[in-house]
C-alpha cells in the first residue's frame, strides 16, 4: 500500500512539470469511506489530478461517516477545515442550518460552470435539496435498498422470480423454511430498510410536516401509519422462524450470511452488490429485485442512501475554484461510469445513467441487476413523503427506533409499546434540536 502510494506520488511528480507542480493550488477533501470504497475515492482524486494541472486535491479518509462529520466540525471550528467534506444523510440538516457551507449553486456560478441541475435523478436531488428544492451540496455516493434473493433456493420451491408483494414474500419464506432452509431471511434490527424505505415506497409519513421539510416543529408519526401493521407482520415472521437476526455479535453479519448461502433473502443497499459478488460462495446464483410492496398498495420511489459533498466556508477563492473544478469533473458521465464500475453505487444523474446504459454496463454479468436501483428510485414522481427525511438529531432518532426493534424482537415489549415509547423519546430529541436552532427557519 505504502509502496503503491510512493510509486504513484513519484509518477505524478515525474509526469507533471516541476514548475507547474509548484503552482498547483492544493485543497483538502475529507470523506468517510474506507477499504475498497476508500481506494476508489483515492483513484477518483488521482484521475482528477491527472486530468488538469491547476489544482491538486488531497483526499483523506476519516474512517467512517460519523468520523468525517465530527472531524470536519472540529476542524472547521478551529478554522482548519477541509474545502470539501462528505456528509451522510443524517448530518445534512445541521450543516444546512449553519453558515458553514458555500451553496453548491453559488460555488459553480461564481466559478463559471454551468450545471444542469435538472439532470439529477429527482429522488436523489430532492433528498439533499432544501425545502425549496435547491441543491446546496453535490449528491455523491448514492444507493438504495434492494431485495437480494438466492435463485438456487427459490428454484427448490419452484419459483423463478422474486416476490413482488410482502404477502408473496412471506409465503416464499414459509416455503423456504419447509424446504429445510434454516434462515429464509437475514436481518439486523436496522431502521433504514424496514422503516425508512418501507415508508417511502408506500408514501407513508415518518414525521409530520412532510417528514420535516416544512419545519423544525415536525413530530414523528411512524407509530400511527400502516408501517405498524407491517412491523407486526415482520415480527410474526420472526416468531415463526422465517427471519433470523444476523450481526457481528452473533458471528456472521447479514451480508456474510447471504453471501455464504446461509440466508436466502436480505434487504440491503445496492452499494453492497459488488462485495456480495466478490465474497459469495462459488457457483451460487442470486439476483436483486425491488423491495416488495404490500398487496393492493401503489409503489412509490424509494429513498436514496449515501452521502453528498459540501464546500465549507473560510477558504480562498483559488481553493473554491479547484473545488468547483472537482465537482464539475465528478459530474461527467465518464466519471459516473468509473465510479459505478468500481463501487456498487449508482449514477446520480440521468445523463450518467443513460451513458452507462449506452455503454452496455448493465448487460454484463457482475453489474447486471444494479439498474433495478434506478428503477426503484424512479418508481414514481417524488411526493411530499417520498422526497426524503429532514429531521434534526436523526442519528439519535434512528438509535431510539433501533433500540425499540431490539426490544420488540427479543420479546421484551409489544410492537405498539416499543414503537410508542421510541417515538416519544425521538420527539424529545426533535424538540431539543428545535430549541437549539430557535429562531432559525427551515432552509
Amino acid at each position: 500500500m505504502l509502496k503503491r502510494l510512493l510509486l504513484s506520488a513519484t509518477l505524478s511528480t515525474i509526469l507533471v512539470a516541476p514548475a507547474l507542480a509548484a503552482d498547483r493550488v492544493k485543497f483538502d477533501f475529507w470523506h468517510g469511506l474506507t477499504g475498497n470504497l476508500g481506494e476508489v475515492v483515492a483513484e477518483v482524486c488521482k484521475r482528477f489530478n491527472d486530468s488538469q494541472s491547476d489544482f491538486e486535491i488531497v483526499c483523506t479518509s476519516q474512517g467512517s461517516y460519523p468520523n468525517a462529520l465530527q472531524n470536519a466540525i472540529a476542524a472547521y471550528r478551529a478554522k482548519k477545515g477541509p474545502t470539501i467534506v462528505q456528509i451522510f444523510d443524517a448530518g445534512t440538516l445541521d450543516l444546512m442550518l449553519s453558515e458553514a457551507y458555500v451553496p453548491a449553486r453559488k460555488l459553480m456560478e461564481d466559478n463559471g460552470y454551468k450545471i444542469n441541475w435538472d439532470d439529477y435523478v429527482p429522488a436523489i436531488s430532492n433528498y439533499y435539496a432544501d425545502s425549496k428544492g435547491v441543491l446546496n451540496s453535490f449528491p455523491f455516493n448514492s444507493s438504495t435498498a434492494l431485495m437480494y434473493w438466492n435463485k438456487d433456493a427459490f428454484a427448490k420451491i419452484g419459483k423463478t422470480e422474486a416476490p413482488k408483494t410482502w404477502e408473496e414474500t412471506f409465503e416464499s419464506l414459509k416455503a423456504l423454511k419447509s424446504a429445510g432452509y434454516e434462515c429464509p431471511m437475514g436481518w439486523e434490527n436496522d431502521t433504514w430498510q424496514i422503516m425508512e424505505q418501507f415508508s417511502a415506497i408506500h408514501a407513508l409519513p415518518i414525521a409530520t410536516k412532510g417528514n420535516g421539510y416544512q419545519g423544525l416543529d415536525a413530530e414523528l408519526q411512524v407509530n400511527k401509519t400502516k408501517f405498524m401493521e407491517y412491523l407486526k407482520l415482520f415480527k410474526k415472521g420472526y416468531d415463526d422462524g422465517l427471519i433470523k437476526i444476523k450481526s457481528p455479535e452473533t458471528g456472521e453479519d447479514v451480508d456474510q450470511a447471504f453471501a455464504n448461502g446461509n440466508c436466502q433473502m436480505m434487504m440491503e443497499s445496492v452499494a453492497d452488490h459488488g462485495s456480495i459478488g466478490k465474497t459469495q460462495k462459488a457457483g451460487m446464483n442470486w439476483d436483486v429485485a425491488m423491495l416488495p410492496v404490500m398487496a393492493g398498495m401503489e409503489r412509490h420511489n424509494s429513498f436514496v442512501g449515501g452521502a453528498s459533498l459540501w464546500a465549507l466556508q473560510g477558504k480562498t477563492p483559488a481553493e473554491y475554484k479547484g473545488a468547483a473544478a472537482f465537482f464539475n469533473f465528478i459530474a461527467k458521465p465518464e466519471s459516473a461510469l468509473f465510479w459505478s464500475t468500481n463501487t456498487g453505487y449508482i449514477p446520480v444523474t440521468k445523463s450518467g445513467f443513460e451513458f452507462m446504459k449506452a455503454q452496455g454496463f448493465y448487460d454484463k454479468a457482475p453489474f447486471k441487476g444494479r439498474e433495478v436501483a434506478i428503477v426503484s428510485l424512479n418508481a414514481s414522481p417524488v411526493t411530499e413523503y417520498t422526497r426524503g427525511i429532514r429531521l434534526g438529531g436523526f442519528t439519535q432518532v434512528r438509535k431510539e427506533i433501533r433500540d425499540a426493534f431490539t426490544e420488540i424482537f427479543s420479546n421484551k415489549v409489544t410492537v405498539d409499546d416499543g414503537m410508542n415509547s421510541a417515538v416519544e423519546r425521538g420527539n424529545a430529541v426533535l424538540r431539543k434540536f428545535e430549541k437549539t436552532y430557535a429562531g432559525k427557519a427551515m432552509p
Binding site: 465530527q70 448530518g91 438529531g393 426490544e407 430549541k435
Partner: protein, 294 residues
C-alpha cells in the same frame, strides 16, 4: 543553619511551577471550563450561536430514564469488574509469589493481557462469545436461548465484564506481585517456622501488609472502569442490545459525537466528573482510615 532548601526569590519558584500549571490548565481546566459553559447553553455543532438555558440540560438529563439506567449500569460494571480483576489479580500474584512450578514463565504471561489494546481484546472476545461462530457456538447448538449477547442484555453485560476484567486482572497482578515481593522474606519465614500454613500466612501476614496497594488499586479500578470501558463497548456491542451496555461514557460519546447534541453530552460529562469526585472522596474518607501505611 537552615535545614530546608528554600528559594531565595519567589520568581524562581514560580518558574519551576509554571510548566506544570500550564499543562494542567491547557489539558484540564480549559476543556473542563468549555464543557461547563456548553452544559449551560445549547451549542450548535457547526458554531454560529449558542443560547443560555441555565439548568435545562441538567434537568433534561436527570429526567431521562435512560440516563439513570446508564448510571446504574456503570456502577454495577465498576463493582463487578473491580471485584473480578482485583480478585483474579491477587490470586495469581499470590501463586506467583509462592514460587510455584514455572512461576517465572507465568509471571510474564499474566502481564500480557494488559498490553493488548482494548478494541483488539474486544474483537477477540466478540468472536469467542459469538453464538453462531465462536467457541460458545458449541454450547448454543441445542438451545438458542441459552446464550445470545446480540439480543439478551444480561449476556451482553456479562461478556463486557469478562473482557474488561480479563484485561485489568493483568494490571492488578503487576501491582499485587510487586507489593507481595516487597514483604520481607524473614517475616514469612518466621511465621512458617511457627507452623502457619499457606492460607494462614496469606490472611494474617501478606494481606494486611499489602493493604495500601489494595486501596490504591481499588481507587484506580473504579475510576478507570467508568472511563475505560469505551473501547470495549464500542467494538463489542455499540451500547446494545437496546441500551443494555450503554454506560455513562458511551452515552456521552454517542449523544455528543454521533448525535451532535454537544450540550447534552457536556452536561453528562460534568455529572460524571462530580460522580467520580464524590466516589473518590468517599473511598479516601471511609476506606483509607482502615489502611495502615507502615
Amino acid at each position: 543553619m537552615e535545614k530546608r532548601a528554600t528559594f531565595s526569590k519567589t520568581s524562581v519558584g514560580v518558574m519551576f511551577v509554571l510548566p506544570q500549571i500550564l499543562l494542567v490548565f491547557t489539558f484540564f481546566y480549559w476543556p473542563t471550563g468549555a464543557a461547563l459553559y456548553w452544559a449551560f447553553t445549547l451549542e450548535r455543532p457547526w458554531g454560529g450561536g449558542n443560547e443560555w438555558v441555565g439548568l435545562d440540560n441538567f434537568r433534561q438529563v436527570f429526567a431521562d430514564r435512560a440516563y439513570w439506567g446508564s448510571i446504574s449500569r456503570s456502577i454495577i460494571f465498576a463493582g463487578a469488574t473491580s471485584f473480578l480483576s482485583m480478585g483474579f489479580g491477587l490470586l495469581l500474584a499470590v501463586a506467583c509469589d509462592r514460587g510455584l512450578k514455572f512461576y517465572q514463565a507465568f509471571r510474564t504471561v499474566f502481564v500480557w493481557p494488559y498490553a493488548v489494546v482494548a478494541p483488539a481484546a474486544a474483537l477477540a472476545f466478540r468472536f469467542i462469545f459469538a453464538p453462531e461462530a465462536g467457541i460458545f457456538s458449541a454450547l448454543v447448538k441445542s438451545n438458542h436461548e441459552f446464550w445470545n449477547p446480540a439480543q439478551n442484555g444480561y449476556h451482553a453485560m456479562t461478556m463486557i465484564i469478562v473482557c474488561y476484567s480479563w484485561k485489568y486482572a493483568a494490571y492488578c497482578f503487576i501491582f499485587f506481585l510487586a507489593a507481595l515481593q516487597a514483604i520481607p522474606r524473614s517475616v514469612i519465614e518466621a511465621s512458617a517456622l511457627d507452623g502457619a500454613g499457606v492460607l494462614r500466612r496469606v490472611r494474617d501476614i501478606q494481606l494486611p501488609l499489602i493493604t495500601p496497594t489494595f486501596f490504591f488499586l481499588l481507587v484506580i479500578s473504579i475510576t478507570d472502569s467508568f472511563q475505560d470501558s469505551f473501547g470495549i463497548v464500542d467494538v463489542m456491542t455499540d451500547g446494545g442490545p437496546a441500551k443494555a451496555t450503554e454506560f455513562m461514557v458511551y452515552k456521552i460519546y454517542f449523544d455528543g459525537f454521533r448525535g451532535l447534541d454537544y450540550s447534552g453530552a457536556a452536561a453528562q460529562s460534568i455529572v460524571l466528573m462530580f460522580l467520580m469526585m464524590v466516589l473518590t472522596f468517599f473511598q479516601f474518607r471511609f476506606i483509607e482510615r482502615r489502611i495502615h501505611y507502615s
